[in-house]
Assembly symmetry: C2
Homo-oligomer: 527 residues x 2
C-alpha cells in the first residue's frame, strides 16, 4: 500500500481527516495487546476496526512492522470491507514477536502487540524456496520436487465442481497447481465466475475498490490446497479475458498487485506467476512486466517464489527478481543450456496437455506426457501436467458441448499419465536428498550419452540414487557407469509403472541386460 | 585421367614410347568401327587393346569424345588390366552416335566408331535427377521418391552373405542403398574384405595401380542392384579404416576418384556420396573435400547426383557442386529451414538405426523409425533406413559375438519398420506427380498447424493428394483444410500399416472424427 500516488494525494487532505471518528483523532498511548500463540508458518492475522465510509481501499494506508530481536519485517495490510482492516503475517521463526502498526488513519496507527510463535505443526514445513541453486525445498529444508498440474479457472466454476476438483487432487500425484486469479475467457471457457475481484456493474468494473468476497473465496481455496500439501502457483495476469482485467491502467495493475500480495502473501503455499503467456498480452510491454515485478518484490514481505510464463517469446529468467524459469516448451534437449544460462531451477510449466482436443496444445497422448515428465526430470528440471479430454460422444464431435476439462475447469482426471507421474514422483522423492545443482545430468559426457539425474553427494561421487531414462533407445544391454560404491538396480517401465529388480549388486561400469523396447528407465540406489 | 602430374611427366618420355608395339607407333587412318545397337541408358563399352607392361594405370591416358549432332561428350577411359583399355558411356539420347578416342599411346588414339542408340528397355528410366527443385525423378521424368536403406560394407562380406543381402533387397521396400567403396573397420566390422581396391602386400598398398578384380566385383553388385531398381549411393571416402584409405595423399585421392568415376559413371543407378561423416576424417580438411568435388565434377561425364554426409559439422549444401543435402540428424522440425536455405532436395540419410545395440545411434524402435520416415516425408524431405539388431542370445550379451547387422553386413532384416516404410512408399508413389518444391509443407501456416505434403498442382490449388501426419497429437476430431474440389479420405495407421476409408467425400474445411491415439496419418485424394 505504498507509492500509490492517488492515495498519497489524499493522505493529509481534509477529506481524509474528515473520515476519522473524533474520539481517535488525538494520538494517545495504547495498551500493548497480547495475542494467543501461533505455530511457525501459520498466519498471524491482526484485525483492526477503522473507517467504513468513503473508499478505504484507496484512502486508508495500513502496515505493521513485526519484530523479533534485531529483525523487523514490514508487512502491508489491507481493507477487508465493513470497517475491518487486516495485516497478515506468516512468521518464519519461533520466538516472541511484537508489532507496531502505521497508518494515515489515527484509529489504525501505533497499535502494538505481541505473540509467541511456537514450533510448526508436524506437516508444516514452510514456503517453498530455491535449494541447491537449481532445485527446491520447503523453508525447513525438507525436499520439495515440483510435480505440478494445471487448472487455470477451477476456482471460477460452481462450488460443486470446485469440491470435485479438490477431491480429485486428494488422490492425484500433484503438489503444485497453476491457477489464475482472474476468471478466464477462452475456447471452452465461457461461463461467468461466481465472484469478481472488482465490484462489477453490468459490464463496468469499479477499479477503485475490491470485492472482499472474491478474495475470501480465493483464500479458502488456497487453504484447501494447503491442506492437501499443494502449492498454489497463482497467475496474476493473463490474456484470456472479456471483462477488462488484461487492459487495466498501470496504476490499477499495481493497486491490484499490492492488494493481492497483502491478502495472500501470508499463505505459505503461494507462488507468484506474474503472467500466463505474457507476450500474448498485447496491452502490456516487457517493461510493464519488469515494473510489475518491482512492485511485487517491494510488496511481498514473505518473499514467495516469482516467475512468469511465456507464449512464444521467452522472458529473461536471468533477471534478479526471477526465482525460477517457468517455460512453455517441449524442447527438453535445451534444458542443459537453460540451466547453464539462468543458474536457477527450470520448470517446464507447459509442455502441452494430455488430451484429445483439435488443438495442438491439447492432444498429446498419455505416453508422450509421461515421456516429457521423465525427460524433464532426467535433465535436472521439473515438468507440469495438464489434461484436456473431451468425452468421446457425438456432442464432442459436434462441438456444441460445454465439456469439463481438467486443464481449466477441474473436475476429474481421465488420462493415464497421472499414474505414471505418481510413480516418477515417488522415485524422485525416494531419491532425496535434493540434487546438487551441478549434478543434474551426470551422463551428458561421453561415453555416458544417456541422461541421468544424480541424487546426493557433492560431486556425484557420493551419489545415493541415479535415475536413467532411455527414451526411444532400446539397447539389448548397456554399460552404466557408477560412482565408487555398491548399488542395486531396478528396470523401470514408466508407462506400465512397473519396477523390476535387476538381480545382484552393481559396481563400477555395470553391464545390464535390458528389454528391447523403448521408454525404459533405470534406478540405481546405493546399498 | 587428366591433370595427373606424375603421368604427365611420363607422357612424352622415352620410357613411355618404348612401351608401344613398333607396328602401332606410326599414325595411320583407321576404319570406323560399327558397333551393335544399344538401348538408351545402357552402357556402351569400348574395349581397346594396348600396352600391358609398365604401369598403364599411371602412364597411359585414354578418353573418347562421343558425338550426336552438335553434342560432344568427353568421357575418360580406364585401364582394366591385361592390356585391356575401356571407355564406358551411358548414352542419354536415342540416335546415331559416333566416337573418337584420344590417348598418349598411339595404339589407343584416334579410334573411331559409331553405334545406334535405340529406345530404352521398358524398365530403364535413366539416372536419377533433381526434379521440381527439391524432389527427384528418373531422367525420363518418371517420379522417383527415395526410400533408402544403409548397408555400408555389404560388398565386403562373403559371397553367400552378399547373395542373401540381394535376396532380402528383392522384397524390401528400399530403392536406394548407402554403401562404401572402401572396406570398413569399426565396431562389429573386423573382417578382411575379399578384394582390395589397390594391390596389397601384407600391410602395404600399392597406390600406383588398382586391382581390377575389386572393381569388377563392385560393378557386378551395382548391376545386381540396378536389376532390383535400387540406386547405389556410393560412399567414396570414410573414416572407418585400418588399411590406410582414409589417409592417402591428395594425388592418390584424385587418382582413385578419377578411376572410380571412369569405371562406374556409366552405370545409371550410381550416386556419389563424397564421404561418410566427412568431419570425422581428421586427415582431411573442408578444403580437401571442396577440391575433391571439383575433381569429381570434372571427371563425371554422366553428371550423377553428388552429396556428402556429415558427422556433427554440416557441410555447406548450398555449394553449386552439391545436388542435394545428405544429412545425419533427427531434427525433422528444422527441415523447413534447410529446404529454404539450400533450395535442393533434403535426405535425412542417417537418423539413427532401428535396433538394440548399446549405442545411441543403433537402438531406436521400429515405431520411432517409422515416425521419422513420416516426419521426413511430411516435411517435404526423404529419409534413409538402417537396422542394427543383435540376436537376443547370451552371446549378444557377452559381446564375444560377430553378428550380422544389416546396417553394415547386409543379410536379412529383423525389424518391423520396413513394413511401415513399404506402406509409406506406396502411399507416396500413388501420390505422384512429384510435389512442387513450394508445396512441401502446405500446412505450416495457421490455422493448419499439422504438417502435410501436397502432391500435384502448381500452387496447391490443384493438389491431387495430401498426406497428413499427426505425430504425438491425438485429436478426437480435426478440421482439415482442403483446396477447391472433392476428395476422399483414409485414416492411416503407420504402425499397423492399415488404411481405413472415411465414409463419403470431403470438400472445403472438412471435419473428420479421429481415433484418440498418437501417430495417425491421413490421406486425401482428389476424386
Amino acid at each position: 500500500m505504498r507509492n500509490l500516488t492517488r492515495r498519497d494525494a489524499l493522505k493529509f487532505s481534509g477529506a481524509a481527516a474528515a473520515l476519522l471518528p473524533a474520539t481517535l483523532t488525538a494520538q494517545q498511548p495504547k495498551a500493548r495487546q497480547q495475542h494467543t500463540p501461533i505455530p511457525q508458518w501459520e498466519i498471524f492475522e491482526l484485525t483492526l476496526q477503522g473507517p467504513a465510509t468513503g473508499n478505504p481501499f484507496m484512502e486508508v494506508d495500513l502496515s505493521a512492522d513485526f519484530r523479533l530481536g534485531y529483525r523487523s519485517v514490514h508487512v502491508p495490510g489491507f481493507y477487508d470491507g465493513e470497517g475491518n482492516y487486516k495485516v497478515r503475517f506468516m512468521p518464519d521463526t519461533v520466538g516472541e514477536w511484537t508489532y507496531t502498526t502505521a497508518s494515515n488513519n489515527a484509529s489504525l496507527t501505533g497499535k502494538t502487540g505481541s505473540f509467541t510463535v511456537t514450533k510448526p505443526f508436524p506437516n508444516a514445513h514452510g514456503p517453498i524456496v530455491v535449494h541447491n541453486a537449481q532445485h527446491f525445498s520447503y523453508a525447513d529444508g525438507t525436499p520439495y520436487f515440483p510435480f505440478g498440474t494445471t487448472s487455470y479457472a477451477w476456482i471460477h466454476q460452481s462450488e460443486a465442481l470446485q469440491q470435485q476438483t479438490l477431491a480429485t487432487l486428494m488422490s492425484a500425484p500433484f503438489n503444485k497447481i497453476r491457477m489464475c486469479i482472474f476468471p478466464k475467457h477462452y475456447e471452452y471457457n465461457h461461463n461467468e465466475p461466481p465472484f469478481y475481484p472488482f465490484p462489477r456493474n453490468g459490464t463496468t468494473n469499479d477499479y477503485t475498490r475490491f470485492d472482499p468476497h472474491f478474495f475470501a473465496h480465493l483464500e479458502q481455496r488456497i487453504l484447501d490446497l494447503q491442506k492437501l500439501n499443494i502449492e498454489a502457483d497463482l497467475i496474476l495476469f493473463h490474456p484470456y479475458d472479456r471483462w477488462g482485467y488484461q487492459s487495466m491502467s498501470p496504476e490499477t495493475d499495481a493497486f491490484y498487485l499490492r492488494y493481492v500480495v497483502a491478502r495472500l502473501g501470508a499463505y505459505r503455499n503461494v507462488w507468484w506467476s506474474m503472467a500466463n503467456e505474457w507476450d500474448f498480452m498485447k496491452q502490456k510491454t516487457l517493461a510493464d512486466f519488469d515494473r510489475l515485478f518491482h512492485v511485487l518484490e517491494a510488496a511481498d514481505a514473505h518473499h514467495h517464489l516469482r516467475s512468469i510464463h511465456h507464449g512464444t517469446i521467452m522472458y529473461d529468467y536471468g533477471h534478479p527478481w526471477i526465482t525460477h524459469a517457468s517455460l512453455q516448451t517441449d524442447e527438453f534437449d535445451k534444458a542443459p543450456q537453460w540451466l547453464a544460462a539462468y543458474k536457477k531451477p527450470v520448470i517446464f510449466d507447459e509442455c502441452k496437455y494430455e488430451g484429445n482436443l483439435n488443438r495442438r496444445w491439447g492432444n498429446i497422448s498419455a505416453a508422450e506426457m509421461t515421456r516429457r515428465f521423465w525427460l524433464g526430470v532426467i535433465n535436472g528440471c521439473y515438468v507440469t501436467h495438464g489434461e484436456t479430454y473431451l468425452p468421446e460422444t457425438e456432442e464432442a464431435f459436434n462441438e456444441d458441448t460445454t465439456p469439463t476439462l481438467w486443464w481449466s475447469h477441474g473436475g476429474t482426471l481421465h488420462g493415464e499419465s497421472s499414474a505414471a507421474i505418481a510413480q516418477l514422483r515417488k522415485l524422485v522423492e525416494e531419491s532425496a536428498p535434493i540434487p546438487n545443482a551441478r549434478m543434474g545430468f551426470f551422463a551428458q559426457d561421453k561415453p555416458y550419452y544417456l541422461n541421468a539425474t544424480v541424487y546426493g553427494g557433492a560431486d556425484g561421487k557420493q551419489a545415493q540414487t541415479i535415475l536413467y531414462f532411455m527414451d526411444e533407445h532400446q539397447p539389448i544391454w548397456y554399460e552404466f557407469p557408477l560412482p565408487e560404491g555398491t548399488f542395486t538396480a531396478e528396470l523401470i517401465d514408466p508407462l506400465t509403472t512397473t519396477a523390476t529388480p535387476v538381480p545382484g549388486t552393481h559396481t563400477g561400469k555395470t553391464k545390464i541386460r535390458m528389454k528391447v523396447k523403448s521408454r525404459q528407465a533405470l534406478r540405481f540406489r546405493r546399498v
